[in-house]
């Protein structure tokens, strides 16, 4: 496919066909030369834990299967989801970044310029998806670049290229939306009642769409109501400060005007 600057691109991650192989994680680390953290196994197959400075793709293994034996027909499966930066249209990280290190690229993706970032970590406080991590060695905030260098060289992002089940698809954003909608309709027609798309409305539309088979919270994604920007608190917080300042100054003036001899 031709990847053209000036056009919006996106991922569509269909969690219903994710097999948890972690090829995306490996391809991402290989291409981006990420050494990774020390592996840590918990109660499951997840040895990377979360998205952070070293993990720009992270396969979630969500064990929602009860330990007691199930009868036939009640079968439940683990949920698996290859999580990634959403490259939000209205991005919280980009909004707060004081250095303008975080930019929107010619492919409409969100990119942290490593030569501009000074490691203040305001973007980490802002990102509602816990996507960005702080690299102690480089002193930088890091996250998925959407394989910016590969896009500039007409190459598909490494994770999408490596995914053996095509759970991760890459392409023109509007085309990805169409593919996602068609897949949703197919699953719903097959009786998967919980199937839903995530990323159509949140933050003005995400550039990483997901087909989920449970509610977003089950995958640690805020639902539409909770997908809110940091700037929502600007006006009322400053207003509270202003009222406090006025009251403080008036109170101090009254206190200073009283005769000093009074108790």
């Amino acid at each position: 496919m031709d990847i053209t600057p000036g056009q919006a691109y996106g991922f569509f991650t269909d969690t219903s066909v994710c097999i948890g192989c972690k090829a995306c994680e490996v391809a991402c680390k290989e291409w981006n030369q990420l050494p990774g953290n020390e592996p840590a196994f918990g109660d499951g197959y997840d040895n990377t834990g979360q998205l952070d400075a070293q993990n720009w793709r992270h396969v979630q293994f969500i064990d929602n299967v009860p330990d007691d034996v199930l009868t036939v027909g009640q079968g439940k499966a683990w949920l698996m989801m290859s999580d990634v930066c959403k490259h939000c249209t209205h991005a919280s990280c980009l909004e707060v970044c004081p250095t303008n290190a975080i930019i929107r690229t010619e492919f409409d993706t969100v990119y942290i310029q490593p030569d501009v970032c000074n490691g203040c970590r305001d973007c980490i406080a802002a990102c509602p998806y816990a996507v960005i991590g702080f690299n102690e060695e480089t002193g930088l905030a890091q996250k998925c670049t959407f394989c910016y260098g590969r896009l500039q060289n007409n190459l598909v992002p490494a994770c999408a290229k490596a995914c053996p089940t095509e759970s991760i698809k890459f392409g023109d954003l509007s085309e990805m939306r169409n593919v996602a909608t068609a897949r949703l309709q197919l699953l719903q027609s097959q009786g998967v009642a919980n199937a839903q798309l995530y990323g159509e409305k949140e933050y003005g539309g995400l550039h990483a769409l997901f087909l989920l088979t449970d509610k977003p919270e089950a995958y640690k994604q805020p639902n539409t109501e909770n997908a809110v920007l940091p700037s929502r608190n600007n006006t009322r917080s400053y207003l509270a400060s202003l009222v406090t300042a006025v009251l403080g100054v008036v109170g101090a003036v009254i206190a200073f005007r009283q005769r000093g001899e009074e108790g």
Binding site: N100, V116, A126
Partner: protein, 296 residues
């Protein structure tokens, strides 16, 4: 209850001390300005002391912030885009606003400091005396008012900075800016009360400071109540057993001084100094619990 799936920014001790000293510097500068503008000659020694206190507290702030950066040598990226050379000014990003406000406040605090040194007879350099002459006039008063506005901003925006995020607790309230500002004013007044007792014989002004701090503490307590009210059930996160000692310090650092300042003859028995230290302890504990409590 709001959903949060965020990662903590790992803002720790440098930020705690910055928030504390920023509040102290802003509060002290405002008090110095008000005492100067209101013109009671008995207060002028403490007014000068306020500017002498505000400056060193302010100077430490950018140092702490720089040390907290992953790339300290890139501190100037806060103000200038290193790629384009254009100024970075994002009014909707409190961190960007704070960087400029700190720069502005730094200018005012430095010049007021110089003026105070000249007036105290501890600096006789020609340029410094020229600055002091200008600061002594109408222009100087206007200058101090502007400086006080910057000081108020520095003392209060730190709470706004926390709220303009998606972190649990911080982003679930609008009261933090006001709370930190009220606490900063109180900490500023308390610091001056302590230093005044040690360096200036100004019992009248000491009583004025105590009265002002009473107002600031009441304001802080009201905002603390608003803070908890806006958080609702989320406030429970800040009351984990590990934070209880800090909340005790916050209570002792607000209610204690409030009672001590009210005691008859308080100004003559050294209790304003003890009350002042309690305020400082409470102000520090408040910032520690708010900053760490939301991130752990």
């Amino acid at each position: 209850m709001p959903q949060h799936f965020v990662a903590p920014p790992q803002w720790e001790w440098y930020i705690v001390w910055y928030f504390f000293l920023g509040g102290l510097a802003g509060g002290a500068y405002l008090i110095g300005t008000l005492l100067r503008l209101m013109g009671d000659p008995r207060d002028q020694g403490v007014s000068r002391l306020a500017f002498l206190v505000a400056f060193p507290a302010m100077v430490i702030c950018p140092i702490l912030l720089t040390l907290d950066l992953g790339h300290p040598a890139r501190f100037w990226h806060m103000l200038v885009n290193s790629r384009t050379g254009a100024l970075n000014f994002k009014y909707w990003s409190p961190m960007s606003m704070g960087a400029w406000a700190l720069l502005g406040f730094g200018l005012f605090a430095t010049l007021s400091f110089i003026e105070a040194l000249v007036q105290e007879g501890r600096l006789r350099h020609g340029l410094a005396r020229g600055i002091a002459d200008v600061m002594g006039g109408v222009l100087g008063r206007l200058f101090m008012v502007l400086g006080a506005l910057f000081g108020l901003f520095v003392a209060g925006y730190t709470g706004v900075l926390l709220s303009v995020s998606n972190q649990p607790v911080w982003s679930d309230t609008w009261a933090l800016g006001g709370l930190f500002l009220a606490s900063g004013l109180s900490v500023g007044a308390a610091t001056l009360a302590i230093v005044t007792r040690a360096r200036v014989d100004a019992p009248t002004t000491e009583r004025k400071l105590s009265r002002a701090d009473r107002v600031f503490i009441v304001l802080e307590l009201v905002l603390l109540a608003v803070f908890f009210a806006t958080l609702g059930a989320l406030a429970g996160r800040l009351f984990a057993p590990r934070w209880l000692v800090l909340w005790v310090l916050v209570a002792v650092g607000t209610l204690g001084p409030l009672l001590m300042y009210r005691a008859p003859g308080a100004g003559r028995r050294g209790s304003p100094v003890l009350a002042g230290w309690l305020v400082l302890l409470g102000g520090l504990a408040l910032r520690i619990v708010v900053i760490f409590g939301a991130q752990i």
